[in-house]
Symmetry: D3
Subunit: 200 residues, 6 copies
Amino acid sequence: MKPNRTLLDLFLEIQRLDRLPRAGFVLRGVSDPESVTEHTWHVLFLVWTLGQRIEEIDVGRAIEIALVHDLAELRIGDLPATSSHYFPEGAKKAAEAAALADVLAPLSERVLRLYDEYQRGASPEARLVKACDKFQLMLKVMVYESWGTGALAEFWDNPDNFPDGGFPLLLDLFEELRARHDAEVRKATVAEMRGDPLFP
Amino acid sequence: MKPNRTLLDLFLEIQRLDRLPRAGFVLRGVSDPESVTEHTWHVLFLVWTLGQRIEEIDVGRAIEIALVHDLAELRIGDLPATSSHYFPEGAKKAAEAAALADVLAPLSERVLRLYDEYQRGASPEARLVKACDKFQLMLKVMVYESWGTGALAEFWDNPDNFPDGGFPLLLDLFEELRARHDAEVRKATVAEMRGDPLFP
Amino acid sequence: MKPNRTLLDLFLEIQRLDRLPRAGFVLRGVSDPESVTEHTWHVLFLVWTLGQRIEEIDVGRAIEIALVHDLAELRIGDLPATSSHYFPEGAKKAAEAAALADVLAPLSERVLRLYDEYQRGASPEARLVKACDKFQLMLKVMVYESWGTGALAEFWDNPDNFPDGGFPLLLDLFEELRARHDAEVRKATVAEMRGDPLFP
Amino acid sequence: MKPNRTLLDLFLEIQRLDRLPRAGFVLRGVSDPESVTEHTWHVLFLVWTLGQRIEEIDVGRAIEIALVHDLAELRIGDLPATSSHYFPEGAKKAAEAAALADVLAPLSERVLRLYDEYQRGASPEARLVKACDKFQLMLKVMVYESWGTGALAEFWDNPDNFPDGGFPLLLDLFEELRARHDAEVRKATVAEMRGDPLFP
Amino acid sequence: MKPNRTLLDLFLEIQRLDRLPRAGFVLRGVSDPESVTEHTWHVLFLVWTLGQRIEEIDVGRAIEIALVHDLAELRIGDLPATSSHYFPEGAKKAAEAAALADVLAPLSERVLRLYDEYQRGASPEARLVKACDKFQLMLKVMVYESWGTGALAEFWDNPDNFPDGGFPLLLDLFEELRARHDAEVRKATVAEMRGDPLFP
Amino acid sequence: MKPNRTLLDLFLEIQRLDRLPRAGFVLRGVSDPESVTEHTWHVLFLVWTLGQRIEEIDVGRAIEIALVHDLAELRIGDLPATSSHYFPEGAKKAAEAAALADVLAPLSERVLRLYDEYQRGASPEARLVKACDKFQLMLKVMVYESWGTGALAEFWDNPDNFPDGGFPLLLDLFEELRARHDAEVRKATVAEMRGDPLFP
């Protein structure tokens, strides 16, 4: 597969991103899990909403990073997290950067520099996108658990899924999410023990 | 989109009803939820079975109402219940009546009068179809909960989902359904507390 | 359904947008059609890419409009285009504005003013988002046709699907897309007539 | 599996019919094919619409036959047409009658006699349901072909799929359907040969 | 449908096996359940792995039986277990043997003799495949339960699902599986009662 | 993710392979494409059938290679073919070997040596599995094209998809498949040009 030649090539290729389901959910049995496109939109929405509330963030730059942060998957696929374990250090990152350059060839080089910044976590904006990338993951885990789909409990036990990027706002939101999750669990348990008309 | 011109136009258009999933289930995360067609068939089956057991019901008329009661969705879509909140009083009903008239244009006007009767709840048959419309909803909620799909607990708490239409037979059936539901919950809870080989 | 109270409520609610398939594709038989979330992301990507190439566009503002332009569907549903025909003039727009206000209650009022601007097409940014909304539609039609899914030919005959918003860049892109589409059709036909190893 | 004991048992069991896809479409590669429930509803709608236009038909009886004509599949499954070839003469019919009796145990025996009448084609109503059963099949084939899904051409070549049951109305409708089908094919071919913007 | 004439006919026909979902899971509400092809592969893997550890087993023969043991379903369909109840004694087995003969017509007769051996349980290899057929069922039940999909509890209560075929190795594995299942249930229950961040 | 500790761990993990769709089909828009498990079963069936007809093949060994040849994807994912372009030479093969070792840890080392043989194409059995791996791909392409799903024409133009492994039997089968494909295309074209009742 070649670098895209025109904007139209690029626009047509990215339509396919919708067919890539997120591997972490697929392998844990979630039915009809979100696509990479859907994940990316939600991250973008978070970055836009939260970026405005954090002084050191240039929202426009953060949005640009969020927009492209997963586009390499069009050519690499959405590798499960376990895959990193089996590739040589840095191989995945290098592959992603090269694939992204081919996908985005009709755009200016500036966006590839932003992506490099993202991979290295080299700016507040990069760190915010990374934090929102995981925050969106846990929001979706919360939703899927309430829908009863997938074996997702382990996500709550993995500290890597709760990176606040040094932003107190993110720290608060992660805590609020976890508190709400714990409350839901407790409510469900008590309801069941009472025989309340609430299904497990 | 125009009124259907011939019977064949009508028959072809209604085949598409199968692709419309029921919005209430979609938005609560049910995987592969029933279509509007499937809902309609089940309502019809209930109306036929129960109508024979209720003296004041003309089963033939009730069946005709049930057959067409959701066909407007072919052109309006299956709006989630929340949508009513945002449209002006009566706008949705008027839109449905107009859409149904276009869909069923090759049939006699009599069926539109039956639909108007249904919207106004103006006869025992209309009330029976309305009651069965909700009874079928709760039957499906019961089944989906046993399958573990969707966040459906709130349906049991909404009194609007238990309209008996003034028919003791429906009242009994709603109560029997709720009792069975509560028993299932209690059985599951006790089994879990004992460590029985029954999954939550 | 109430206005969202906190940011977290909002973030959790919008995860559900992924389950709303685009009605126009559903009713024309596309298998596994894009969700509203996916549509929204693609519009955003177009707005970002093209906005930078058009002098009078404030890209940041255009992106904000694109981000929220379809969120009302969380509460209204994705009504098929035919539905407009059956609702009173303006009823759908008013409902969408009210629903959006409830969804986005935890955000500032500024975003609702942007949405109003969008509905009225009252700024270059609003017109760009509207143009990209349709351009994305036709990109997806092109892709689905190449995949052989859905009865989509009528989309190419509807002039409403080709609004350039007064931007020459969009006009060019629509023409390029249509030219590529025609070329694909011609290539397929010639190949078939020759008996080339290319399937219809 | 036992005969259903109560009406509620019956109502809950039939909800599952929605998960049974029609085997003939599954094995020919149709994506997301209609369920047995959906098929049954469409047959019912045809029987109701057409029955009113045929003098010798008692519509109420015909509707009752249509309502139950495929319910045995809840316990037997939807066997592909090829299966008949491998079972002893009559084994499938006997199995279906026995299964239906268990499913419908809470109803009166009258409905089993109607089903027997249907299997033997022993009345005008039985013949009408049989004719509509195939007419609906061909309507759906027509729709799926326009959507580009499945390898369905052989259906048009099988005379068993065009039984008019001796009713001129059905004969006309089958002919109208075939004529429309042929016209669509011809239109598509000419469009392609001209290079018109219509995809194969 | 005729006997396959060439190897290529056979190879093309069996590709369709992927579209046949396993009826037992479909009717119990599992979302996106395994296909007959997938079931067959897993049985094969078990037979290969375990056969090597059992002295009296000729692994090559056992693999051949496993490879073909469900291919009759291409023409008969995957009948739900309840169907046996309604067909005359032996009708299903005879139908399967006849269908398999047609599917595998281009292969040697030897494989049909192996299938007959399987149906009669007439050799250690036949018994091993039968034991693995059920062991795979229970492995999948375990996985689906952990994913929260389907109403599968009854499978654990049916002794027919735990046939060890007289092989101590299988007996041990069935017991290990059941023990792990019970431990999971107990862990989930205790976690809930403590209000641990583990969802029901 | 760790190496599997027991046979039961291994058996449970491989059940998940069913949820991995084949990336090449996903990205070309095939609806509900085959899973990696399904692919593997079909390769196995081909290896078994064809291996018996080729003198130099030890069928038992070839089957063992086929059984495990794609199991690394459980941890690496099914990377699209384009991904190879972006990883350093050999990185993917090394990752696959390491992942397979972890998946199959409870089995003997012999199977890893067979896999290494497969990756290097170092034996007639390895070459047969590789040839069948592609032959199955083209069989499925043929079937999907007849079902009208996916943009698959390019597969027929890629010589890498037609490796005969030096076996005349495979060469013949590839040619027979291509001839049948060309004949289908020609038949469809002629039918359309005549306006025959066969849909494009």
